[in-house]
Amino acid sequence: MILGVDVPPISHVTIWGEGPLGINKTGVIYIFALVMTFLVFWLGTRKKDALVPSGIMQNTAESSIGFVRNQVIMQTMGVDGLGYLPYLATLFFFIFFSNITEILPGVQFPANARFGIPLVLAMVTWVIFNVVGIKRQGPAHYFVNSVFPPLGDMPIAGKIAMYILLAPIEFLSTFIIRPFSLMVRLFANMLAGHLILVTFAALTAGLWAAKVTVIIAPLSFGLLVAMTGFEVLVSFLQAFIFTILTAVYIDISMHPAH
């Protein structure tokens, strides 16, 4: 309870630990997520020669990778994108494990509510989709395709007028807003969920402490339990959305619109 109700000051959103190698709660959770991701793949693939998967670790690992393969890659990139399966699966597991600590009793803090690592992940994705675009289409084609979208049948003057309006917007949206919104989406969702849980926990404690209002405390507590269940869904969904958006961006770089 005391660990969960402990509210770090909001300045901790921008300040990460003490000194360059400072370790705080966020850092510990990221190391935990890293170890968990490693364990899932390591324990899950020890018996990889067996034809029929057996054991809880192998079944979990294989069905999760099947999920990333079928729901993320096949839905967006198709067979072309299967080479990105290792990156996307690792991304999915890492984000999920650092989100799920939001509801882990005693920890109750999603590491992705501090925007350091989401920013790095978004930048890695940015580098990957740009490199893929440059390799697949060549630098000039890639730039033209991303900044000047096809307009269809239109008189030449109309096209020029449209491109004067569209080109800056497309440039901003592809090269600046994309990684920024990827980072903000993950970070703000986890921060908002964490704040909701903290608010209801503090509210329950406060109503319990006051004499008369103790009658309303069960309502606040019930909502706290319900929101905890909802946050499980959100942590999974945010990991899924980050992964699938990465896949969509790589797909746009691989297969440009004609």
């Binding site: 109700v5 839905q75 919104s181 406060g206």
Partner: protein
Amino acid sequence: MVLLHFLLAQAAADPTKGLTAIGRGIVYGAAAIGPGIGIGLVVGNAITAMARQPESAGTVRTTMFLGIAFTEALALFGFVLAFIISG
């Protein structure tokens, strides 16, 4: 209670803090209007599509989450901006 004491102490220290709080509320509230309508449209139409063609529910669901993610980003910008504003 902890939160209430914190807010009261803040208000006693500097009366203009209240105005900052109102500003933050307006920023987030205004930023949530458009995405609220947008997510309603996305999910509503996705449900219509799933009801009309249940066999395509998987594809529609994936696309729906993508649409939600793009729409929701604007509300989240507002959420972050509400924290960035300082009085």
